[in-house]
């Protein structure tokens, strides 16, 4: 049992192209939750504030990605 659990952490996952990009979402969520937890005095306000920040980060990164893709497409 313990060996099976440890094996999960020993070798990396094989990732295809699409899930690789989806892994950005939980990392951005962690950043949003920790940032808002340290900034807000009332912890009841954290879920909403973190969700708004998370959406903002993800949309910002998508916008930057689309912009860079457009620039490279024009230059190519």
């Amino acid at each position: 049992m313990i060996a099976t659990v440890l094996a999960l952490f020993t070798t990396g996952m094989e990732l295809s192209r699409f899930p690789r990009f989806l892994l950005m979402l939980p990392l951005c969520l962690s950043v949003a939750v920790i940032y808002k937890s340290t900034r807000m005095e009332n912890m009841r306000e954290v879920p909403t504030a973190a969700a708004i920040l998370w959406v903002t980060i993800v949309l910002g990164m998508v916008a930057v990605g689309v912009g860079l893709w457009a620039v490279f497409s024009v230059m190519a």
Binding site: T10, T11, I34
Partner: protein
């Protein structure tokens, strides 16, 4: 002639430094936050914030280790700067380093291809390194927040005990 600040002026500027008990409390909050993310907040009584920080950072760190594999993710020789970022998450990186074990070294018997196979796929390793590194960097935020809150609490406690009328307990 430069005026020398009096003891009371110095303690007003740095009230925590003037009180050994407050200084110990603030230092303990910072150290505990580094050792286990969120423990500093639990120590100063901020339970909800401590649990949220602990769960988020621990899940992010070990999620990264699960994605990239501990052999390629926690690597002080190949990814030195990221390792310093990971070190900020305290005991998590210690446990991961113990789990990793010693990496095989290139020799006549062991090729670099075999070492790469031991470490695992590089794409997931890169993502895992980002997860664990960001978890460590986020813990710096948590440590600074715990230090600030512990300091503010010490100042408030000190003021309320000073302002209390004599004879009132």
């Amino acid at each position: 002639m430069v005026p020398v600040p009096s003891e009371s002026a110095e303690s007003a500027a740095h009230p925590v430094l003037a009180d050994p008990a407050s200084l110990a409390r603030v230092s303990a909050a910072g150290l505990l936050s580094w050792l286990v993310p969120g423990l500093g907040h639990l120590y100063i009584g901020d339970r909800t914030r401590g649990i949220v920080c602990m769960v988020t950072i621990v899940v992010t760190f070990w999620g990264g280790v699960a994605i990239g594999g501990v052999r390629a993710t926690v690597d002080p020789h190949e990814r030195t700067l990221w390792f310093f970022a990971q070190l900020c998450s305290g005991s998590n990186v210690g446990a991961a380093y113990l789990l990793r074990g010693d990496a095989p070294r290139a020799s006549k018997e062991i090729s670099s291809a075999q070492i790469a196979a031991w470490a695992g796929p590089w794409v997931s390793a890169d993502i895992g390194v980002h997860y664990t590194g960001v978890a460590g960097l986020l813990n710096i935020l948590v440590i600074l927040d715990a230090l600030g809150r512990a300091e503010r609490m010490s100042i408030v406690t000190r003021r309320s005990s000073r302002d209390r009328p004599k004879g009132v307990t």
